[in-house]
Every structure is written in structure tokens, then in C-alpha cells.
């Protein structure tokens, strides 16, 4: 008996779909590199040399490669935090704020229960992080579901509130004896284990698992089906008896919880402490990546990887050639503009 609602596999239809996803993302990546080349050219760099430097520094060595993985991990998670709500038509611009709240809650756990063993403390911190992010996303989700304010605006506005709350707790209560802008280092049991003796930590594995789960969830489960129905036509989904409000609120919260998990991973894995204004726009980056990738898990992975390469290499360029870091965001934004300008690029070509 059929396991999915796909047509029989021999129809050719099936492979075409995946080919299309990959093709789409490859074109996006090409566009990104082209744009980046132009930016480099404009800032007086030699694009060819710069690209060579970037690839050499990132993909040319085991260390460089591991740094790419480290950089892409939070992007994967925050992109998922945007892609999941996007499936029901919710535009979550608030991953940045949710990430901060997740970090805040997780840090509270790390500081309060520092005596617990890692196998209790880490899952506890992860849950706390998800709780923080989820609660933060509940606000826009709820307001949207009662038809009061659009979630885009609310989640965006809340982004500027969350870092202030984090700073308040750091400066007010939790700061280290000598530095008022960070907490003390977490105890060992509150740190995510690292892998292969690099800075890659467990959250990378978690991120990949989450992406696969996301894909399976949308494709196979009843809730995935209902979410696709809502995303495609919320009016008819509602008439068909799908509880729209419950879906909107809970999916927004799950999105927030995922972003909160990214925050937990940052403090528990990458930094090992909570730092005021620690995120360099990871939530926004996740937003851009998710929309460039069309919300597809495979696309998110590919795009995040490429962005991480440029980003890590860009860091290097900054040291060697004095290029400002913000070009990465400019680059992503430009790529997204192109995506938005031609959303039906591929489908159009196919139709005629």
C-alpha cells in the first residue's frame, strides 16, 4: 500500500521534483557568488584572488572546514525556525529575539543548576532554551491568531526588546566578577560536548537531525499534511475542520522554540558563557537563508554551507584585506531580492 501521496515512482515526476530543488539552489548559489564578486570588485579587491583565498582558507584545510561547520550550525537552526512557520504562511522575522530569549533561559539553568551532571543539565538547558524562544514567539503567534496584529511586525519589534532583557540580566545579576558584559564561564557539565577535537559541537548533529525530521514531518505525518493545507489555502483548511488558530499559535511557538535552541547552543556550545549582544544577526541570517532556499531542508543545508564558507572566508579576508563583515548580510539581502523579484523563474520556464 502506498506510504505517501506521491504518484507511483516510475512516473518520472518524482525525480523531476528533487532535481528542481537542487537546480534552484545551485542557481541561487551562483547568483550569490556573482554578486559577491561584484561587491569585491567595487571595494577594490580582485575577485578571483579573493575567491581563491576564501576557498583555500575554508575548504583547503581540515581546520578551515571545521570552522565552516561551526559557522553554519546556528544558521541551520535559525533557518529552520523560519522555514517551519513559513509552511503555514507565517513570516517569522523574530528568530533573532527568540534566539536571545533561548540563550537567556538556558543560561539561567546553567547558572542555577550547575551542580547537576551533564546528562541532566544539558537536556534541561535545551528544554529551557526552547521554552524561552517558544514563549517569545507565543506573543506574535497569539496576537496573529486572534486577528489583532500581523506576526511579521510583532516578531520584528520584539527583536529589539530581547537583547535588552538579556543585557539587563547580565549587567544586573549574572555578570562575571571582572567583566560586567558577560557571565562567568559555564561549568563543564553545562557545555555541549565537542566533536573530533574541533570546535564543532553536538548542536551540529542536532541541527542536521532536526532538518531531516522537518522533512519527514512535512511529508509523512498527518500534521504535515494539515500544515500544507493551511499554507496553501487557509480559508478552505478552516472550512475543512482543521483548527487554524491552534495551528498558528503552536507552530509559531515551535518555530520560536527552535530558535531558542539555537540560542542555547550558542551559549552552551560556541561561547560557554552568556555575552551581551552575542548574536551577530544569526536570526536574520536564518531568515534570509530560509527564504533563499525556499524553505526546503536540503536547500537550507546547501545555502547555509555556502554562506558559512563566504562568512568564514570573509573573516579571514577582514584580517588580510580589510573588508567589512557586513558585506555578508548585503550579499544575502541582494540574493534574496533577486529571489523575490523572480519567484516563478523556474515554474514559468517549465509551463510554456
Amino acid at each position: 500500500m502506498a506510504q505517501t501521496a506521491d504518484p507511483p515512482k516510475n512516473s518520472g515526476f518524482f525525480y523531476q521534483k528533487y532535481l528542481q530543488v537542487i537546480l534552484r539552489n545551485l542557481v541561487m548559489i551562483l547568483i550569490a557568488f556573482l554578486l559577491f564578486g561584484i561587491i569585491l570588485l567595487l571595494s577594490g579587491k580582485n575577485p578571483v584572488l579573493s575567491f581563491r583565498d576564501i576557498f583555500r582558507s575554508t575548504l583547503g584545510s581540515a581546520y578551515g572546514f571545521s570552522e565552516v561547520i561551526v559557522a553554519m550550525t546556528p544558521m541551520l537552526i535559525t533557518a529552520l525556525a523560519v522555514a517551519f512557520p513559513a509552511r503555514v504562511g507565517l513570516i517569522n522575522v523574530g528568530a533573532e529575539g527568540q534566539l536571545y530569549m533561548g540563550a537567556l533561559f538556558a543560561t539561567w539553568g546553567a547558572l542555577t543548576f550547575s551542580g547537576l551532571p551533564a546528562w541532566v543539565l544539558l537536556p534541561g538547558m535545551a528544554l529551557l532554551g526552547m521554552l524561552g524562544g517558544g514563549l517569545w514567539a507565543f506573543i506574535p503567534g497569539y496576537l496573529k491568531s486572534i486577528g489583532l496584529v500581523n506576526e511579521t511586525i510583532t516578531s520584528l519589534l520584539l527583536n529589539s526588546v530581547a537583547p535588552s532583557i538579556v543585557s539587563f540580566f547580565i549587567f544586573g545579576y549574572w555578570h562575571a566578577p571582572r567583566d560586567t558584559s558577560t557571565t562567568s564561564n559555564f561549568v563543564k557539565s553545562a557545555r555541549l560536548p565537542t566533536l573530533f577535537g574541533t570546535r564543532i559541537d553536538l548542536s551540529f548533529v542536532l541541527a542536521v537531525v532536526l532538518l531531516v525530521l522537518f522533512w519527514l514531518f512535512m511529508k509523512y505525518t498527518r500534521w504535515g499534511l494539515e500544515m500544507r493545507a493551511i499554507g496553501g489555502n487557509s480559508q478552505s483548511a478552516r472550512r475543512n475542520g482543521i483548527p487554524l488558530k491552534i495551528y498558528l499559535v503552536s507552530i509559531m511557538c515551535i518555530g520560536g522554540a527552535i530558535a531558542g535552541l539555537a540560542g542555547m547552543a550558542q551559549v552552551s556550545g560556541y561561547y560557554g558563557l552568556l555575552l551581551a549582544n552575542f548574536s551577530i544577526g544569526l536570526g536574520f541570517m536564518g531568515f534570509l537563508i530560509s527564504w533563499i532556499a525556499g524553505g526546503e531542508p536540503l536547500g537550507i543545508f546547501l545555502i547555509s554551507f555556502v554562506v558559512a564558507v563566504i562568512f568564514t572566508g570573509g573573516n579571514l579576508l577582514q584580517l588580510t584585506q580589510g573588508l567589512p563583515y557586513s558585506v555578508i548580510n548585503i550579499l544575502l539581502a541582494f540574493t534574496l531580492f533577486i529571489v523575490l523579484a523572480r519567484p516563478t523563474f523556474f515554474s514559468k520556464r517549465r509551463r510554456s
Partner: protein, 514 residues
Amino acid sequence: MPATPTSHALPGPMVSMRGITKAFPGVLANDGIDLDIYPSDVHALLGENGAGKSTLVKILYGFYRADSGSVLLNGQPVRIQSPADARKFQIGMVFQDFNLIPAFSVAENIALFLPDLKPVIHPKEIDHRIEEISTRYDLQVNPHALVSQLSIGEQQKVEILKLLLSNARLFILDEPTRVLAPHEIKALFGVLENLRKDGYAILLITHKLNEVLECADRISVLRTGRLAGTLTRREASEEKLIAFMFEKSLAGLNRHAHAAARSDRPPILRLTNIATHSLGAQVGLEDINLDIYPHEIVGVAGVSGNGQKELGDVILGLQKCSQGHKELFGQEATSWSIGRVRQSGVAFVPENPLQMAVTPYLSVLENMALTRSRLYARLGGLRVDWGAVQADARESFVRFGFSVPSLFVPVRSLSGGNLQRMTIARELAFDPKLIVGSYLTRGLDLQSTLSARQALLDARQAGAGILLISEDLEELFTLSDRLIVLSRGRIVGSFLPTETDNYTVGRLMTGAKV
């Protein structure tokens, strides 16, 4: 400018289509179709659902590109690659769901479509042109009214005005009468008659044979993508057309020896003093009292926009009542969620399935599962039993005598009638106890209309209560056990079909007192 209105034997065809072929994945929608359209001619295009009518006219209008075949305009081959090309060749089309901008006035909508719109708009001049044409063809609408405030019939007039002012000579109308009330249909045919006299050509798609025999000069019938034949009005008869369309004669309705509804049993649905707030263009319901008993079909007559949608939505639980109570199967149900209402055995066929019943980009199969996703879920929801969905879907299509091209195509690619078939099959499949059907047979071909009506009668026989909302009085009188008339959100009349007639109901519908 108009040619002398003589018989159409004189001029050659205005537009000829030759060997038009168009395939979609898995379907050959048009297969070598030849069609000649003459000036001063109303040319009707008939055929069962999915026969390829809409595809053919969309090709003529440049909306689709044919795989092969050619189009000749006054004998000269032309290439129509886009609707803009079509308009250049004086071909205009009114789509089923109109293309007007609701927030704009009539004049603004028309101005936007003018081929010679100047950078600086002279509203006076445009008003003048609208006025001239609209009096000439009896298409009176207020040019300053907002489109959102117009009835569907008036919007259609605006669409036709648009085409007239853009100098179209061939008018393509895809099921123009589908959403019109009887008096609006009459008005439309009056307009078509005037256009015909002035030498315009009209290509008209419809499923209603009486309309065809009333106004068409020439009738072409499509069957599964092929041209089954073209007849002149003199040659045509109802039997002939049916034979052309279906290759067989149609069975009549089996009305059963049905047990009369008994009001001593508890009603399936009871609405008591229901009122709703009116928001925007919505009509507020007022003082609605309605009981539906098992074994009963209650027909709701009314010009659409008089509270039909709101009535259905109140029953479904989508629209909150500001006043009154709703009981379902003897239980207080005013505040039930839509999910609960549906699970209790209520089926709902909305007036516009594409917007209100399905998710267009999901496949037919996935849409068939949507209303029953909980029942098809396995492992607590981690898996959906698509095998069961398939089996049920196939069974219900067979049961109702419907066919759709494939269960795996996205619903948005279905023809209008096939979409309606799918919605009906999904909603009526599991022996619902209460059926709310709005314009249930809209867009269905003759045979499917019969099947759908039979399905309603069968459901009644099995003990269901049915609320049948329609503008088609013939349908209401054929099927209903009781008839109510809805006007401006109120029930203004309640009859047994035997104690009233078309005329009385028609007058009540349009708001007149009897």
C-alpha cells in the same frame, strides 16, 4: 461600422482554428480540433466536464500555447502567443472568475483596459464612451459605483463593456451563466442578441441545453478532447446534443418511494432566532428559524448575496452568531468548533470550491484526505494511510459515477466541473447526516448533474437532512421537500413545492411582496 445583419452564409469565418492539439501531463486535452467562428453568430461550445472546452478557448485567447495546429483570422494565419496578442487581433475573453479590481470604480476598471488609454486620463470622456455603449447594448451600470458593490450579474456587464470598448470583435465567454440568477441570464442573452445583430461573433461555453437551444446559431460539441460535431440551430435537438456529448442517453432520476420527513422526530438541525453581524460586503442574517428533519431536502431560494453564504457558515460554525441558538442532532451546538461540527456528520459543499474547499497545489488525493485526516492517521498521526485514502477515493468516485483524470495531479489543474465532482465526492462519501450544499451542481455537465442530484436523493433515502442552496428554481422544485426564500438575510417565505410556483418564488427572491 456594423455589417448589415444578414444571414451568416455570406461572409467567411472570422476566426478558424485548425487541428488544435494540446496535451497536459497525462491528458490529451485537445486533439486535432477544427472550429469556424462566423461574424453575427453565437457559437456554443458544449461537452462533458473535462472535455477540453476551457483549454480550447484559452488557446484561442493566447493563454495556453497549442502543441500543434493553427489559427486563421479572416483567412490569414496568425500567431496568438499571449492575451495581449489576442486583444490586438480583436479577440476578447471573459473569464469565469472575473478579472475586475474590486476597490476600483466601474469607469476605472474599464479605463485600465482601454487600448488607447492616454497618459493623462479624461474621466469625462471615458464616462461618455461608457454611456454611449451601455445604452446601445442595454448594459446599464453606474460608472461611478465600486465594483465591490456590484452583483455578479452587473460585474459581468462591466466585463462585457470592457471588451466592447477595447474593440473586440470576438467575445469568448466561458460558462457565463454559471453564477447568474435566472433574470440575469435573460438579460445577458438580450445583450448577446444585440451584439450579434451588430456583427460581433460570440463563442459561448455552457452546460445548459435549454440555453444553447435558445440563443446559439451554431453548436459544437467536444468529447474527450475531440470535436464530436458541429450543428446549426435548426439541426439541433436536445436528444441529438446529448447523444453527441455522451454517446448514450441519460437515465432519469430514481426518486425512491421516500419516507416523508416526520416532525415528531428530533430535527437534525434547528436554528432558533439566529442573527449575525454584517461586516463589510457581508449580509447580516436576521431572525432565522429553521428546522431540518431526517429524510428531508430543504431548498433555499434566493439571489446570491442575500445571506446564503452566511447561513451555510453559521451551520458550519465558521461564522459566529450575535444572537440565537443552533442545535445539531438534538444537542446545543452554537459554540461547536468547525472540526466538531464536521465530525458529528455534517458535509459542506461551498459555493466556490477552489477558494473554500480545496488547497489548489495539493493533489486530488491529498485533498480527499483533508476532511478526514484524523481517521486516516496511523501511529498517532506520524503516518497517513494513503492506501486507504486511495481506496476510499476511488470507491466514492465510482459510487457517484464521476471520473477525474488522475488522483495525483494538483487540484488546480482540474477543469471546473472535475473540481466540483471531486468536492462532492469527498463530502458525500461517508454518509453524512446533514448536507449543506451551495450551488451543488454548478459547473457540472448534464450527466454529472444527474449523478449529483441522485446522490442527494439517495442520501435523503438513507435518512440525511439536506439544505440545498441554489438560484436554479428548476433544481429546487425538482428536489426539495420544502422551500424557503432568503432575501436580505431574512427568510421571507416558506412553502411546499406543490403549493407555490416559479413566479411567486421569483418575485420573493427579488424582494417584491407577494
